[in-house]
């Protein structure tokens, strides 16, 4: 029980942290942000690797294989496409100080 409680505490903290982190990203970068966080939830791949490694009949192994495949696709595709997008946000050559208001 204590273990679950602590996990719950971590969950709450991460939730607050997530809100703070995301709400400071400007609209300019919302598409890459969506894409990058999308890649981050590919962390589920870690779970896939742990599951596939446990013993089990062939169908469970197959399920695990599919999970890892999906997870890797999520991670690699997600970060790759985000990088492609962000590589377009080049700093301007002649830096014009943007007038306020």
């Amino acid at each position: 029980m204590q273990e679950t409680l602590i996990q719950f505490a971590i969950f709450i903290m991460a939730g607050f942290l997530g809100f703070e982190l995301i709400s400071r990203v400007p609209n300019l970068l919302h598409t890459p942000l969506m894409s990058a966080t999308n890649a981050i939830h590919g962390i589920i791949l870690v779970g896939g690797m742990i599951t596939i490694a446990a013993d089990g009949p062939a169908w469970v192994k197959a399920v695990g294989f599919l999970a890892v495949f999906f997870g890797a696709l999520n991670v690699v595709g997600g970060f790759w496409v985000t990088n492609r997008m962000l590589s377009m946000f080049r700093p301007p050559k002649a830096r014009v100080k943007r007038r306020k208001g």
């Binding site: 273990e3 999970a67 696709l73």
Partner: protein
């Protein structure tokens, strides 16, 4: 499962790298390195995992990872920037699918060991449900956006009832899995979870098909949050902190972006998801063709721009993305700047079909992000602009949104005040309104407005020609 000290610290490092990575997404200068840092964090987490698992499985894992990575790179490298919403949907879907499958096999393992507690017993069916809905929902969203299938709002009689029954069925199956077959003795616990998975896949389809294509970004963002939470839930089951932390952060992220979008659309989330009204949105347009408009040619626009305009503000919208007109846009900017005209962009937060989408398209063709002003910064600029050029947009410049006498789907949404510019130039194919189906009074202001009826790409090409010659 007890993680060793070293893997635990590696996971913590990975979490820190994710956080630092997201922090760096705040400015365009640091964003790319932020993404790299997050990707590095992912690598750390994956390598650490290799140390906690059995050696024999490495081959299988390696094969799956390589396969997934290859498909990931190929798709990510080829996708067009205008197709970003469906690409995010696709990656999100597979993530959700992975979460569902992992939960299923974890259920198998735990029930074999006989160590299924309350936490796992309730969390696993939930993860299977959420992950599967996210998977099929994303597939449907993808097909809609790619216009492969389910375009428009697909409805059938008693849809809500069917959904409710299906959901109840899933609950019963989940309870049956948890209670080891006490409710439906003919279904073993594992079989019940498999049934939950399939039923949830169907539910995912049914939930998303009635929602119109234009609402898809909101659905995708919501499903993104779902997948994040499914990953966090898996973390509870596997007692793995990196899953909890990263999954929760993504869950929070998706929630915020979803709220932001539905807020900017001026419609509560519930309506979008449960009413399918979005589809009917486009049909609300009244027939007002009789009212006169100032229909002009591209050369007239070009002439005005090169002769009279010293400062021009361009407002790109969804139509520009559809017409793939972003590189012609760049030509226009260059032609105008060559002639000494100052060019700025006004980017509305919900222009296009994904938050920030227009920014990506404009930077894609090399327009500096310093020129891309957001709503607050650009509105004061219209007053001394000689022209506002609106390309394939309507809702985001529609003054009807702030007309207290009108009750429209966009009422209350702050818009770009293009009417303050000397002249207003629309480049679009017809008088039809946009996503929200609200007619735009500016169309009929024949003194101020020029309507150039054309596809965004063709129209811009002609205007560029005219500016160059003018």
């Amino acid at each position: 499962m007890e993680t060793g000290v070293a893997p635990f610290l590696a996971y913590l490092l990975a979490a820190a790298l994710f956080i630092i990575g997201i922090r760096r997404l705040r400015t365009p200068e640091t964003a790319r390195s932020g993404n790299t840092i997050a990707a590095f964090g992912m690598t750390v987490a994956l390598i650490a995992t290799l140390f906690v698992i059995e050696f024999e499985s490495l081959l299988l894992i390696g094969a799956a990872v390589v396969l997934g990575s290859v498909v990931g790179i190929l798709t990510a490298q080829r996708v067009q920037m205008t197709a970003m919403p469906q690409m995010v949907a696709a990656y999100n879907g597979v993530g959700g699918g992975a979460a569902a499958l992992i939960a299923l096999s974890e259920f198998y393992h735990l029930s074999e060991e006989g160590s299924l507690g309350v936490v796992a017993g309730t969390t696993i069916p939930l993860t299977v449900l959420v992950g599967s809905v996210s998977f099929m929902g994303s597939v449907v969203a993808f097909s809609k956006l790619q216009e492969l299938a389910f375009t428009g709002s697909v409805t059938f009689p008693l849809q809500q009832v069917v959904n409710a029954v299906l959901f109840l069925g899933i609950l019963v199956l989940a309870a049956n899995a948890f209670l080891e077959g006490e409710i439906l003795p003919f279904l073993s616990p594992v079989a019940s979870v498999i049934a939950v998975l399939f039923a949830s896949l169907v539910l995912g389809v049914l939930l998303v098909i009635p929602i119109g294509g234009a609402d898809m970004p909101i659905v995708i963002s919501l499903l993104n949050a779902f997948t994040g939470l499914a990953a966090a839930a898996s973390g509870f089951v596997l007692e793995n902190y990196i899953l909890i932390i990263a999954g929760t952060i993504v869950g929070a992220s998706g929630t915020i972006l979803t709220r932001l979008m539905s807020g900017a659309l001026g419609r509560p989330l519930g309506k979008i998801i449960f009413a399918g009204i979005a589809a009917s949105g486009g049909s609300k347009q009244e027939e007002l063709g009789e009212r006169p408009v100032n229909d002009v040619s591209a050369s007239a626009v070009g002439e005005y721009l090169s002769d009279e305009a010293n400062k021009v503000i361009i407002v790109p919208g969804y139509g520009l993305a559809v017409a793939q007109a972003q590189s012609v846009m760049k030509d226009l900017v260059e032609a105008l700047e060559k002639g000494g005209t100052e060019v700025l962009f006004g980017i509305h937060p919900v222009a296009g079909r994904m938050p920030g989408h227009m920014n990506v398209l404009m930077t894609e063709v090399g327009i500096s992000y310093e020129k891309l002003l957001d709503l607050e910064d650009v509105n004061p600029e219209f007053e001394d602009a000689d022209a506002a050029i609106i390309v394939g947009a309507n809702d985001v410049v529609n003054p009807a949104a702030n007309d207290p006498e009108k009750d429209t789907p966009i009422s209350g949404m702050p818009v770009l005040e293009v009417g303050n510019a000397e002249r207003v130039i629309f480049i679009k194919r017809s008088l039809s309104p946009g996503f929200a189906g609200v007619d735009n009074p500016l169309f009929y202001d024949t003194d101020k407005t020029m309507m150039l009826f054309a596809d965004a790409k063709q129209g811009l090409e002609e205007v560029v020609e005219a500016v160059k010659n003018g």
